[in-house]
Subunit: 638 residues, 2 copies
């Protein structure tokens, strides 16, 4: 198929075929008729460029991938895209390609399995009991993320996680020795893994024995399988077979080497028969589980419901905050978190060593550890990217809903995981506190500037930056209801006044009229998000004293606002009102879509500074006086 597409990576699909065969046919539990079966064994092809291998497995194992789909490999609209895509092709357990993220997500899946088994299994009801397998290549292991993922798994003793390492000594630019001399065995052992070695990647019996042995250990298991990249091809053992089609001549020679004389895309009936037999055998396990789960659902309806829940129950939450009080939105968010955790036992998460600062520790729910796998606080360590990938893996697994948290500025370290959550339509929740210059003393390295814009630019995400505690309540209701995209909740370190206008704020609409002008057509509009909203309100008062009649719009989420009807958007921002000032402590250009060529933006287009938070904020122009001045200057311009 790579030859037909004239594009793709033939190396890994050939050399890793034997291990994949053993795993899928001899060992894994799955059912092609129910690809999302909660208790299936998971398989993550972390080396996603080897997608041709996965599609072959799906085809022969009767998933919804036909020989015509196979022929359409890497073509627009096909079920067989260049890298495996979760939600696009049935049987693909995770979207992979960006290296090491598959491994990171597999760790998350194994965390979910461990946790859910302990939380939801009942005597005689082992409804959660499966393995998670990942196939990784050299590139995966060079990535820093692999370090984080391996250590999270080692620390949490994820005994049912098994990684197969296609050790072929070749990467895209040439032999691996060009760039690494790492001792992989020592490294994975240092991270708390069980290690074994299969010296011939074509030895089916050795592969099966190694995996079976790995299933028996209490530690996560790492099986290094020595292979020859593109085994059986004239280019075997070289980087020429890593990332490009081989060409017809080499394919011909390869066919000769394997003694394969059928036409391309043709297979004899006995091959199909063999696979049919495997699939039939597996269907027995599935039926047994299905019966068990039906009984479980009858006996434990609440638990079964939680396992199947797509949304978080936030309806009964009636928290509201009194105007006049002052509370940081990270603290308000924390109070909501506790309540949601109480009402939704399947809701959990953790932090990258900042739970005490992010205020995301679930106080009543214990820690997720080897001794207490039903604990609901995951200590990811200072491993932001590993956390992001693991949270995605937990949410891919299903049965629970997970969040991860750190300082907003460190979203940079895990940006690629947020992207992959968005691509996969996962409802991962990322909670970021310390959202602006107001961080203060820690200075420019710790003060987010461009992060708001950078994350808003990702397709299919909600970035929500609430103005106060009540908008935070509403934000959590949006988050709870979201099923198809990640939510990024951005909270303040510092206390913010609770506004009198935000009770039951329509945060789900993204932006709304917080405080209107006195006349129907305002003189102008002040648009702000987060901690700048109360400044806009104060400026409105000051402007009113000077006979400028302006409207204040709170815009906690640009993405949600942009998804509203044009009528709604025009009602909030009437097209003929062109005197608009946007105020936000972040890169300014994102607001041009609302302020246009004529409006003004009070933003931050340089790095922050170390000093007392309020002083830093003030010195960057975030004060009532500057808003008033900016509006009046704009007013005098046209």
């Amino acid at each position: 198929m790579i030859e037909k597409a004239k594009s793709g990576h033939p190396g890994l699909p050939i050399d890793a075929a034997p291990m994949a065969y053993v795993l899928w046919e001899k060992l894994m539990n799955f059912n092609p008729k129910d690809p999302q079966w909660l208790n299936r064994d998971r398989f993550v092809l972390s080396a996603g460029h080897g997608s041709a291998l996965l599609y072959s497995l799906l085809y022969f194992n009767q998933y919804h991938v036909s020989i015509d789909d196979i022929k359409q490999f890497r073509q627009l609209g096909s079920l067989t895209p260049g890298h495996p895509e979760y939600g696009h092709t049935e049987g693909v357990d995770a979207t992979t390609g960006p290296l090491a993220q598959g491994l990171g997500m597999a760790v998350g899946m194994a965390i979910a399995e461990r946790h859910l088994a302990n939380l939801y299994n009942r005597p005689s009801y082992k409804i959660i009991d499966h393995y998670t397998y990942a196939l990784v290549g050299d590139g995966d292991l060079m990535e820093g993320l692999s370090h984080e993922a391996l250590n999270i798994a080692g620390d949490k003793k994820l005994g049912k996680l098994i990684v197969l390492y296609d050790s072929n000594d070749i990467s895209l630019d040439g032999p691996l020795s060009l760039s690494t001399e790492e001792n992989v065995e020592e490294r994975v052992k240092a991270a708390g893994w069980d290690y074994s070695y299969v010296k011939d990647g074509n030895d089916l019996e050795a592969l099966e024995a190694a995996i079976k042995s790995a299933k028996r250990t209490d530690q996560p298991s790492f099986i290094e399988v020595k292979t020859i990249i593109g085994y059986g091809t004239p280019l075997a053992g070289t980087n020429k077979v890593h990332g490009a089609a081989m060409g017809p001549e080499n394919v011909e020679k390869t066919r000769e080497n394997y003694g394969w004389d059928l036409a391309p895309f043709e297979f004899s009936q006995d091959i199909y028969d063999i696979y049919d037999n495997y699939v039939n055998l597996k269907s027995v396990n599935y039926s047994d589980w299905k019966d068990l789960f039906d009984k479980y659902s009858y006996e434990y309806p609440a638990e079964a419901g939680q396992l199947k829940a797509k949304k978080l129950d936030t309806k009964s939450i009636e928290t509201s905050y009194k105007p006049g009080n002052e509370i940081a939105t990270r603290v308000a968010s924390s109070e909501l978190l506790q309540q949601i955790a109480d009402k939704n036992p399947q809701f959990w998460g953790g932090a990258a060593d900042l739970s005490s600062s992010n205020k995301t520790y679930l106080t009543d729910d214990g820690d997720f550890t080897d001794e207490n796998p039903s604990g609901r606080n995951i200590f990811f360590g200072v491993r932001e990217f590993g956390m992001g990938a693991a949270v995605n893996g937990i949410n891919l697994h299903g049965g629970s809903r997970a969040f991860g948290s750190t300082f907003f500025v460190f979203s940079d370290y895990m940006k690629a995981a947020i992207r992959l959550a968005a691509i996969q339509h996962l409802p991962s929740i990322f909670i970021y506190s310390h959202d602006s210059l107001a961080v203060g003393e820690d200075g420019p390295t710790h003060e987010p500037i461009e992060q708001l814009v950078g994350l808003r630019a990702i397709p299919n995400v909600n970035v929500i930056r609430p103005a106060d505690a009540n908008e935070t309540v509403a934000a959590w209701k949006v988050i709870g209801d979201t099923t198809d995209k990640p939510n990024i909740l951005v909270t303040s370190r510092q206390k913010l006044p609770v506004l009198k206008e935000t009770l039951n704020a329509p945060v789900d609409k993204g932006g709304y009229i917080l405080s209107d002008s006195n006349s129907t057509t305002p003189d102008g509009i002040l648009i702000a998000s987060g901690s700048e909203v109360h400044l806009a309100l104060e400026a409105q008062d000051k402007l009113n004293e000077q006979n400028f009649d302006v409207r204040v719009v709170s815009m906690p989420s640009i993405e949600l606002f942009n998804r509203q009807s044009q009528d709604y958007k025009d009602s909030v921002l009437p097209p003929d009102v062109e005197h608009r000032v946007a105020i936000e402590m972040g890169t300014s250009f994102v607001w041009s879509q609302f302020t246009g060529l004529k409006g003004a933006i009070i933003g931050v287009d340089r790095f922050g500074a170390s000093g007392k938070g309020p002083q830093v904020v003030d010195s960057y122009g975030f004060n009532t006086e500057n808003i008033v001045k900016t509006f009046k200057k704009l007013w005098n311009k046209f």
Copy 2:
């Protein structure tokens, strides 16, 4: 000072003081009068939250940090910000705080030392010969970046890199055992490092012996120093002393424990005398080197000039490309790279295992390896973030100018390093090929969408996306002349027509009139960057046939354009011409700053797809017909 600021991290500065003392006073070469001395030993406080320790060292070692500066710790405008800032406080060798990046930059500094020593030292002229030290904490080592950095250093056998690990078993959220059980010794050995252990972090003799022994190995050295966080304080050994001021009572007890009875910020004269003595001793080495370098400059003026060069010599490059030809900008960039490398021996760099795809291999210049340290191609392996930090470290070191390259979409993995280049005003060069949907078959995980916007949002960077080969030439001239910010060059995988309008294009102005309207005041403006520019030109022709007289503006760099005078900007984009269409294969909202509320943007606000590049591009609306249609629709609106 932490107590006075009522904010900061007291734990590490106290427990790591002995090792810092031994290192700075007994072993390191530096001169406070010439803080940027090329051959000084480098010291990177990777655990940047321990800045109080570094400022104390700078103060006692006669750097430009006074006792008043010390008293202003973490205050706005002070020389002693919350985290150490390169370029802000003399004697700070790198801006640190975002964890593990200090370690990554130290690796880059050691790469630079190794390379420059081999390239520039001459018989009797050992002008480059120094050590690089980094002090790391537990947090640094948990970060994935530490894995990449350790392995790059191990692979390149950077024998003059010495890392001191403040092993205090505590991180912000509590004891380290909450989140890690890694065997650090095994781990660093697996990465090819020499390892030693100092069991008592207060044992000055053991510390000195360990560092001296580390200096003698051919491998990079890792010294684990067991310490008790906040040693001597009532909170010693707990996370309470990690990240917050201790409070007056605890400070009082600590003072008692240490038998310290002077007032805060007061020291007896004998302490000053001891440090004066150290500094005087060091000045001898400095003078000797200075004499040597003067002679070297006389004997090898070209080499001395290269070591001191701030800009790259691009003046003599007269490459131009013939209109009508087709060439990918990654290929054009490659041709420029070779030429710049020829003319600038101090110019070098590498790729994250994609040099053959990025086209950034310097064909005549050998590989940087243990055996050939003067080679100029660095194989970083699949370690994008490690590469970014190392490139920053090389450029921080001085004496050479380095670039790093990978696929544009993987800029995500190293975003935090780009930010740190920008904060530090480093002229790091990041070359990203495969810049858009045109990547094609590899699909959504490999097709950049939001990356252009995300990187443009960072303060103090140039993002340059040339329209064709000739704009690429001009882009390299901008890059060569830049001394105070990173440049991000974004190139196409696919061939692009060489335009007849781009010869000597003013890319330094960021945006310019590529093809003007016939009349003085155009009917409208088409603004595009990169591979969309030639589509805009074709659309201009088509629109002309239909009697719409539009101007085409090429905008390879929004940042450079925004730095021009208002007059220039208005001459390119006259304020009264409101029929504007921007065309770029990336998140659309960044163009609102030029199209305003009335204009239109043809952008990409969803993820890409796997298929043949031209098909994907076309199906997302990037074709002449859609531009023409969009302009006419806009024309009919107002």
